[in-house]
Symmetry: C2
Subunit: 111 residues, 2 copies
Amino acid sequence: MKIHIPHGTESAIGSGKADLLEAIQRAGSISAAARAMGMSYRRAWDLVDTMNRCFLQPVVETATGGSHGGGAQVTAFGLEVLGRYRDLELKANAAVTAEVEALAILLRPVE
Amino acid sequence: MKIHIPHGTESAIGSGKADLLEAIQRAGSISAAARAMGMSYRRAWDLVDTMNRCFLQPVVETATGGSHGGGAQVTAFGLEVLGRYRDLELKANAAVTAEVEALAILLRPVE
């Protein structure tokens, strides 16, 4: 199962955005993180922008240097958001393992 | 938080699709359910089609009678899917109430 935290009509954070934060943390830039995730730079930038708009403080800070230039890093606040999301995800998944399995057996095999 | 069950690149069921199944159950047709939810008929039909394709058996059956005509009902299989999803959702939410709150306080107020 996948979990996200809605914010108005948007999603503030979910598993894809959490994966992206981790990739930025590792790669040191949004463009390198996007590349590593097989995602367009534009898509990665939009996801970061959504997170930065939904949360009280920025979760990613970019250095200046042109549209794709400079580096990016996850802020201390962003690491807190990421940690809390991963805690929630782990605990929720552990709580409903049997229920997820009960639903999964009703699904067709993925082609 | 919102929970969905991914199936390949799609979502087999989540809170919106579960709400739609309940609305179809009440309204007796996809078009009336869509109206009740403030959703286009096309959108509701697409969500039903996705569920019917993802699960082993149809979750909604439509009667014949033109493109918007006839009625629709949630099948016994669909009611089982719905029940299992609602169980999962309730149990997961109960397990992470504190973690959801810990994340929610980091969000901006929704405008």
